[in-house]
């Protein structure tokens, strides 16, 4: 029994359905973004001194819900109760005031400052005299005190940029604790940590729990959830699909609630026919990993998946292959002929395209309409005397919208008004309109709903069946296992192993991805 009910508990405190006291209740939380309903009437109860996991696929609304609690977004409908009192949390300051702290998915630290300065940024203890300068002595003492709560050996004077990612994460946690948080929200804190660092973080979380802190832990890593969570809340497409008590937590039940069906029914690619090698890479060296040479080839009709952990060097590799960055060495062969790729134009001319990882940053010009986005890469084929043939451009965009089943009102509406899945289809439309021979796809289904994901898988399969060679970078295990003909696993810039269809298993991929063999 993990609950450690303190003696001063307010007896009038509200209780949940099971009769346990709640410090936080969210009711009917609804949030709209242009084009999507991100949250649809979501309820959440949080007990004192528990770890509540909130899980769901990418785009299920987990982060949005947490940002509402953290005062970053305001809900369009619904209410929040703290200790039974209705409250509005309309700013980060308001959340801080209510002792709610949010540790973001991305680190938000000033890496040029030291640990103490980061933890107390904007809340520095001041000297009592008229100058009100920072009271450095107290600053470091306070920092020591906060750091001691999470039992770490980080020095308050260390520069944040000298810490590991795991260490920086601890600074974020310490920062949250420094406001004396009662509710600590952690949004996918483990996504870039090593397994040892994850263990440490979990230990800290459990320690904090015994100190009376309630933790909301957002993740889509089910193994980790099983390890730390007292209860699990599952979201899918902005709706609550279920809540599991400690004894009910199992991988199968979580998956079922997350994807709305059994894991067996997850997308599986049919065995395709694989042809000649189309795209061969020999002794390729990317600037980020100057000591590693990678060689591989993708065959016609093949979907080769590059698996690995975040930071394994996969994005860097595909960027170099597409001419975004310049490799330090190596050779690329297309259909047996060596080719030179100095810039993206060279790659595109050769029929090689890249669907980039970051849709908003690299894939789309979100403020522009759908039509110019789709035709942007192929505009040279749609012009006469450098003047755009608008009729042809429009027709091509319509064709792609139809082929990819992009749901929109008109091709003249801005891309940003579409949902994530449809935006990604616009990116695909841009590249498919060029009829590529080789498709490099970096996390092609990141942040989009399950239906759109499946549509994109079918499309990839279709392209493969037409003889296109496809290289996919993916970090989602089900996707890796579901769509690949062959898996290459990368670890710290090199290939740590290759798996043929008969050897596909989650364990094999994870083992190779973490550097073991």
């Amino acid at each position: 029994m993990p609950e450690q009910v303190p003696s001063d508990i307010n007896q009038s405190r509200p209780h949940d359905a099971a009769g346990q006291p709640c410090i936080l209740q969210m009711r009917g939380i609804t949030k709209f973004f242009p084009g999507v309903k991100a949250l649809d009437s979501v309820d959440l109860d949080l007990h004192r001194a528990e770890i509540l996991a909130v899980i769901g696929e990418n785009g299920a609304g987990k982060s949005t819900l947490m940002k509402i609690l953290g005062g970053i977004y305001r809900p369009d409908a619904g209410s929040l109760f703290l200790d039974g009192q209705e409250v509005t949390i309309d700013s980060v300051n308001a959340a801080t005031h209510r002792k709610i702290a949010l540790v973001h998915q991305e680190l938000h630290l000033s890496d040029n400052l030291d640990v103490a300065a980061n933890i107390f940024l904007g809340r520095e203890p001041r000297a009592g005299n008229f100058l009100r300068l920072i009271d450095r002595k107290r600053l470091y003492a306070e920092t020591e005190r906060v750091l001691s709560r999470i039992d770490t050996n980080i020095s308050p004077r260390a520069l944040v940029r000298d810490l590991t990612i795991g260490g920086q994460q601890m600074v974020e946690v310490a920062k949250a604790l420094s406001i004396d948080a009662r509710i600590l929200i952690m949004d996918e804190p483990t996504s870039s940590l090593s397994s040892a660092e994850v263990e440490r973080l979990f230990k800290v979380m459990k320690d904090l729990k015994t100190q009376g802190v309630s933790i909301i832990y957002v993740s889509h890593r089910l193994g980790e959830v099983k390890e730390v969570a007292d209860r699990v809340l599952v979201l899918r497409d902005g709706r609550l699909t279920g809540c599991l008590q400690l004894e009910e937590i199992s991988r199968e039940r979580m998956v079922k609630l997350m994807v709305g069906r059994d894991i067996e029914k997850f997308y599986r690619r049919e065995q395709g026919t694989v042809g000649e090698p189309v795209f061969e890479v020999r002794d390729f060296v990317v600037p980020e990993h100057p000591h590693e040479r990678v060689s591989f080839s993708v065959h016609a009709g093949e979907i080769l998946v590059l698996a690995g952990l975040v930071g394994a060097g996969r994005t860097e590799l595909v960027h170099a292959l597409f001419g975004i960055t310049h490799p330090l060495g190596g050779q690329i062969l297309l259909q047996g002929r060596p080719i030179r790729i100095e810039c993206p134009q060279d790659a595109i001319r050769q029929g090689i395209i890249l669907v980039p990882e970051d849709r908003k940053l690299h894939g789309l010009i979100v403020e522009m309409a759908v039509e110019p986005n789709i035709t942007l890469a192929g505009l040279e084929q749609l012009q006469k005397l450098k003047l755009i043939r608008f009729d042809q451009a429009h027709a091509l965009a319509e064709e792609m919208v139809k082929m990819l089943d992009i749901r929109l009102r008109t091709v003249l509406q801005p891309a940003e008004s579409l949902s994530g899945g449809n935006q990604q289809k616009v990116v695909l439309g841009k590249w498919l309109s060029l009829k590529p021979k080789v498709m490099l796809m970096d996390e092609p289904t990141r942040g989009i709903d399950v239906v759109a994901k499946e549509e994109i898988y079918r499309l990839m399969e279709q392209m493969a069946s037409r003889g296109v060679a496809i290289l996919v970078v993916s970090s989602e295990m089900q996707e890796v296992l579901g769509i690949a003909d062959r898996i290459l696993v990368m670890h710290e810039g090199r290939f740590n192993g290759e798996l043929g269809r008969t050897h596909f298993s989650e364990e094999a991929v994870v083992t190779l991805a973490t550097g073991e063999r």
């Binding site: 029994m1 359905a17 099971a18 009769g19 009711r27 009917g28 709209f32 242009p34 084009g35 309903k37 649809d40 009437s41 309820d43 109860d45 369009d76 409908a77 709706r239 609550l240 699909t241 279920g242 809540c243 599991l244 008590q245 400690l246 004894e247 009910e248 597409f322 975004i324 810039c343 993206p344 134009q345 790659a347 595109i348 890249l354 980039p356 940053l361 690299h362 894939g363 789309l364 010009i365 979100v366 403020e367 522009m368 110019p372 942007l376 890469a377 505009l379 040279e380 012009q383 450098k386 003047l387 755009i388 841009k430």
Partner: protein, 355 residues
Amino acid sequence: MRRIAGIAALLVLVMLLTTIIDISFVNPFNITNIMRWTGLFGILSLGEAFPIMTGGIDLSVGSIVGLVGALSAYFIRMQQWPIAAVLVLCLALSLLMGYFHGVLVTKIKMQPFVVTLCGLFIYRGLARFFMQDITQGYGNGFLGLKFLAHGRLPSALWPQGAAPRFLADWSLPMPFLIIVVVGIILAVFLNRSVYGRYILALGRNEAAARFSGINTDRMTIISYMISSTCAGLAGILFSLDLNTVQPSTAGNMYELYAIAGCVVGGVSLKGGEGNILGVIIGTAIVRVLYNAINILGIATTLEFAVVGTVILVGVGADEVIKTLGAQRRIAELRAAAMGGGRRPPPEIPKAASST
């Protein structure tokens, strides 16, 4: 299009107010004068719009006006070089300056503000040095050439003074006709050509444009070349119009007028957004304001303050309208989604008592 309508409405409003206070604002002489100035400054603004649309800025145009204007007068009058050759030389020189700005911005990755700020100093310094601070001009001759700045059409087609009264009053000044031509060329370039689309795309999101295979460096360089060439053309026309070019002051602050014209005309300093007609109307608004200050007898010492205030209010109103529009769209979406009636709250499985 709604944006253009808004800008045009602002122009009409300012003109109407001025007319109501003093009817002499609408006399033909005054209006054609405003049109001439709109033409001269408008060419600068049109060019300036391109670097701004790429997300950059060109601060050197005022100094280019001074340097090119001085060189043009110097070679034509003092050195008696053939007029056509001098004009070509001046424009080629401006083109080259823009090319250098573009190369420094794209290949050396210097900030546009820094590059063109240095241009502002360098060209001013060179103009003063080459001319030894001596005022240049075309004297009383070169009437044919001066027609570019002072001429009016179609009244000039009639032999001296024979044009009908109405035409003589309302003929269009040459600089205005030139900006119409330049404007049409640049509008086709911006709205119809692949290059225009590339410039707007890279102004919004350079990385995405590069990932789409656009040669973003080349498009950025071209933008700076358009800006400096327009500045060179305006420099020649200004020198012809005023007939005196003081190397130390000619074109001073013009880069700021050029930017003001763009901003009022709806070119976003964030890049990726702009419209040729808007820029011309924007320039006209600034010119009308200056004229109004004169006509209405407002202290000329106050003119900067007046112009600044009107721009601030105009651009501020535009932002407010945009924000309101975005809020309304979200509200509509919400109403549409809520229309179907609220779903009953999901059923949370009850916990088996864990004590």
